[in-house]
């Protein structure tokens, strides 16, 4: 009996129609254990981002089942999927995707607001998170005033607002220099070790290997290899 906390079973996804159709995933079955950091690697077009979109409830498979926190989410309506994302999942993006008009603290506070609009003390909690990530002196800075590494730390703080159990990261270190990239790797590793979160990272970056529990390699929409790292 596989651990069905997070994963896909027999998932196939196609884009386009007829001759232009591309099969991004071909019957992939892959599960991610609770409290682990897993890497999804593979060449461009291998289906990494498609798999991440399925796990993030942002895409529905043509065939197969997606499990989030042990529940099959295929049959859910868009509104129900929004609630699943709100309660269970958070994202970290390569392009950071911070709200450009908001300060660092407001970006993180918005993360809290999206998960629980009635939550009191959002600003204090946002400040605590940013201080924890060494951004105590950047609270009022807008994203365009921050370095790429700082932006990504703000984005991670926003993703952690509301304490979601699952964190999905798409090339989180691709835009960062070596030191900043390593820093982000360590921060995400700590999320697993300290808070028991489940982290899935799509990456081309080999630096991640030493921080990950497993590496899943995709090729042509199929799982080619699963390695245990730590």
């Amino acid at each position: 009996m596989p651990n069905h906390f997070l994963g896909v079973e027999g998932a196939s996804v196609s884009f386009g129609k007829r001759e232009a159709q591309v099969r991004a995933l071909r019957g992939v079955s892959q599960f991610f254990e609770r409290g682990t950091l897993s890497l999804v690697m593979g060449p461009s077009g291998s289906g990494k981002t498609t798999l991440l979109s399925l796990l993030g409830c942002l895409l529905s498979p043509d065939e197969g089942t997606v499990f989030i926190d042990g529940v099959a989410v295929n049959g859910l309506s868009e509104t129900e999927k929004t609630v699943v994302r709100q309660k269970k999942i958070s994202f970290v993006f390569q392009a950071f995707r911070l709200f450009h008009s908001l300060s660092a603290i407001d970006n993180v506070a918005l993360g809290f607001e999206l998960r629980d609009a009635a939550l009191p003390g959002r600003m204090e909690m946002a400040r605590d998170l940013l201080v924890r990530f060494g951004l105590g002196d950047k609270l009022s800075q807008e994203p365009n005033e921050l370095s790429p590494g700082e932006k990504q730390r703000v984005a991670i703080a926003r993703a952690l607002a509301g304490n979601p159990p699952i964190l999905l990261a798409d090339e989180p270190t691709a835009s960062l220099d070596a030191q900043a990239g390593r820093n982000i790797c360590q921060i995400l590793r700590n999320q697993v070790d300290d808070d028991g979160r489940t982290v899935v990272v799509v990456t081309h970056d080999p630096r991640w290997q030493e921080f990950a529990d497993h590496t899943i390699t995709l090729c042509d929409g199929q799982v080619e290899q699963v390695e245990k790292n730590l």
Partner: protein, 372 residues
């Protein structure tokens, strides 16, 4: 909703364009609204100034300005109808006025019995310390340039009869460019060449113990050759003539609607452009778990902020402009409620303008967040 506010203030140039669009629309709507309200008010001003309950006019009279004579016996017989407390007469005709320096001008000459009403502009000799004569002629201060009287009393001619202008009044200025002259009924009928017992409008006050509609019904049965209207009915008829039948009201309304539409287009364009510029952020919001209502609220809040700021700016601009316009258009009138009421269409305009933007923000695929 901090995001909504921050998004619009972050792009000040676009915010300014949106606010200017809204304020322009509000300006135009309030200005045109003031023209319409003033026009309606002016069209029935003299009818409204009377204290009468009922007006008897010749059949087919469309407005106060187009009264035609009715037989004098109507007034005498109407006075005998149960419930009629008091009668009075008003007449009006376009006349030729000759200024003291010999220049001629068409005027609207209005004559009325003294008991027509306290507010009706009739020479009032009682308690007049300056000793105003019963046949004095009055004109409105805003028509000074047309009447061309430099000192009072002034001897002038009306329809080749000698007349004496003795007093200036306020609030009864020229409507449609022809100045009013007010005098006693006796004097006016003499100037117009109407027999003293003939009437043009017979006004009736109804005894408190009687119902106005009952008295009206009774008069209609007794005098089928004339029209018996309540004061409000005649005022409405007069307003309807000037605004609908002449097309003047339609023209004013059209300009107000155009103002609304221009504002709608400007605001739609800028809010839509703003939304599309931030469409990736709406996708991110949805990916992070924002509900459709949350996303819609952000776009709508932005539109309403622009609407509120634009409305305030538009109102602050239009009020002094209308004050200035009064010197050119004396009957323009802005009631306080018009200023408040115009905020509603401006906010509605912004809400309407945001529909396309809300739709775009709601339909954006959250899955696009992974496209770098």
């Amino acid at each position: 909703m901090k995001l909504a506010w921050q998004n619009i203030v972050h792009d000040r140039a676009r915010f300014s364009v949106t606010v200017l669009g809204v304020s322009f629309a509000v300006f135009l709507m309030v200005f045109q609204g003031s023209l319409l309200v003033g026009f309606l008010r002016a069209a029935s001003r003299l009818i409204d100034a009377s204290d009468s309950d009922l007006w008897i006019t010749a059949r087919g009279v469309q407005a106060f300005e187009f009264g035609t004579p009715i037989e004098g016996r109507v007034r005498e017989m109407a006075a005998g109808v149960p419930g009629v407390l008091e009668t009075s007469r008003v007449c009006m005709a376009f006349s030729v006025y000759r200024t003291p320096n010999g220049k001629q001008q068409v005027v609207a000459l209005v004559g009325a019995d003294r008991n027509v009403g306290e507010r009706f502009p009739v020479p009032d000799v009682s308690g007049s310390p300056e000793g105003m004569s019963p046949d004095a002629v009055l004109y409105d201060v805003s028509d000074r340039d047309l009447i061309q009287v430099t000192a009072m009393p002034a001897e002038v001619e009306v329809n080749r009869h000698r007349a004496r202008i003795e007093r200036v009044i306020n609030g009864y200025g020229a409507f449609l460019g022809v100045p009013f002259l007010f005098t006693s009924y006796r004097n006016a009928s003499r100037f117009m060449g109407v027999g003293p017992e003939e009437g043009m409008f017979v006004l009736l006050r109804v005894d408190k113990g009687y119902s106005t509609s009952d008295v009206q019904r009774s008069l209609r049965q007794r005098f089928p050759e004339v029209e018996v209207l309540t004061r409000d009915e005649f005022a409405r008829k007069s307003r309807s003539y000037w605004t609908i039948k002449t097309g003047a009201g339609g023209a004013i309304l059209t300009a107000a609607v155009l103002g609304f539409l221009i504002g709608l287009v400007v605001v739609s364009q800028t809010i839509y452009a703003n939304t599309m510029e931030n469409i990736e952020e709406y996708a991110t919001l949805k990916a992070l778990g924002a509900s459709q209502a949350f996303v819609a609220r952000i776009v709508l809040t932005q539109a309403l902020i622009c609407g509120a700021v634009g409305s305030i700016l538009g109102l602050l601009t239009v009020v002094p402009c209308i004050g200035y316009a009064k010197s050119l258009i004396p009957w323009i009138y802005t009631p306080w409620w018009l200023l408040l009421v115009m905020v509603v269409p401006s906010l509605a305009m912004c809400s309407l303008a945001s529909i396309a933007s809300v739709r775009s923000a709601l339909t954006v695929e959250p899955g696009r967040v992974f496209r770098a």
